[in-house]
Assembly symmetry: C2
Homo-oligomer: 295 residues x 2
Amino acid sequence: LARSPLTPRWVWLDGRILPAENARISVFDRGFLYGDAVFETVRFYRGRPFRWDAHRRRLAKSLAHFGISAPKVDLLPASLRLLARNRLAEAAVRITVTRGVGEGLSPPARMKPTVLLAARPIPSDLPAQRRDGIALVTLGFGRGVGDATRGHKTTDYLSAIQGRRLAARARARDGLFVEHDGTVSEATASNYFVVRRGRLETPALASGCLPGVTRAWVLEEAKRIGLAVRVGPIEKAGLAKAAEVFLTGSIVEILPVVRIDGRDVADGRPGAVTGTMQARFARAVTRSGPRSKRE
Amino acid sequence: LARSPLTPRWVWLDGRILPAENARISVFDRGFLYGDAVFETVRFYRGRPFRWDAHRRRLAKSLAHFGISAPKVDLLPASLRLLARNRLAEAAVRITVTRGVGEGLSPPARMKPTVLLAARPIPSDLPAQRRDGIALVTLGFGRGVGDATRGHKTTDYLSAIQGRRLAARARARDGLFVEHDGTVSEATASNYFVVRRGRLETPALASGCLPGVTRAWVLEEAKRIGLAVRVGPIEKAGLAKAAEVFLTGSIVEILPVVRIDGRDVADGRPGAVTGTMQARFARAVTRSGPRSKRE
């Protein structure tokens, strides 16, 4: 295993905590053969998950949608145990659930799922990116609206990887998927928002974007503070006129976008609404914890 | 490893032939984490591959497209060695190449790819299906035309698996992807042809369908025998009026479709053009072998 700087020493695989280099799965695991798997990435702050229940519900919904058996294990204590073993408090835990082991496009019902929990520290370049903003490119392809996987966090990520490769060539951090109708659905692994005409805008879930946990938080917070919001299609051409653009995601949180396709967004600096949301998000995560304990 | 009846005893992994139950990969393999992988399935007849060069070229093209390093090993001798070890002569060999091992959506250039060869016998129900024909359903979703993965044989197959699940519920063998514009691009793991108005028709590659090796053979053969051919969009509504419909694929070969969405295609029996193509294909494969040996 060529360990990346972010790969920690221990992973949790099917109920056991193992050294990363010993964590191996069958080559007939359907996650490997077919991308027959879904996942969640949960941000832990000071050892406590942010919006655990939202992740848990989204995972359950996707598992049901694709007919993948739900893991029998309680994923929160398992995640906490894994973090403790890795001595991580500020971390991302990726929960991957595959349909199980076995060949064939027509899977039998009720296979035993493969469950992997992997924890990693938060990339150290994120605070600077959150302060200074990042550059994006628009991609000459979408993610395929209408595909059965849209709106679900599946491991079918090759389109996203291709987007990141093209972005890197243009010295941008990330790419925005432009769908066949000219609208921009999402970034390769984030949702996005624009501020224009005094409103906060983001594509509807009908665009095929992921129902992001941080996206939902921003929409709720905008309502709380009385910000005008529009949820609907955003054309690629409309991006250039935005006063502000930012990405949202569990790990990136709220990330200002200051250049798109080589052109500055407004004055090329993070905007006021973005800054307000970042400040409020920072406060929200200090109050975070599993919702189940409060409900 | 819950072995399927089709999973043989030995697999070839990164240069070594291993018992299937010992063939394991890192949980950080990008094929597993992200579907960051492409594959080919090659049909061997009497121990010799059909159109090896076409598969080899398609694989090379997809690897280059996604920037995945090409395997350093010669895949044909490796495949033959694997077939010999499994005592298989009539077989499908799946060649999977992942980008390698390591986390992160932005992969470093030139990773060491993971290469898996897995051989399996040909399903025993195929001859009856080829004789009697199969039932299909049209799916309420496409595969996402315009996605960066279209036209490439990637492991992002969850949409296909979902299609097979819905087909099974309708007691059909397979599903046809209906794209957002109402055209039918392909079946979940096959190309398709229709015969109507005395012509053989199949969608163009611009539909996003896979550039199938058997699809190409049928188009060449139609030209050789003077059959009128149209390559272009086929609307879902047009399928109902077809005189014949068949699927093509390296393993299914040429498979008559006799029912779509619960309705008979023409008189509900395999048609004459389909039969002609099946007979000519059966002759072609008895002449098969690696093209490289004749060139």
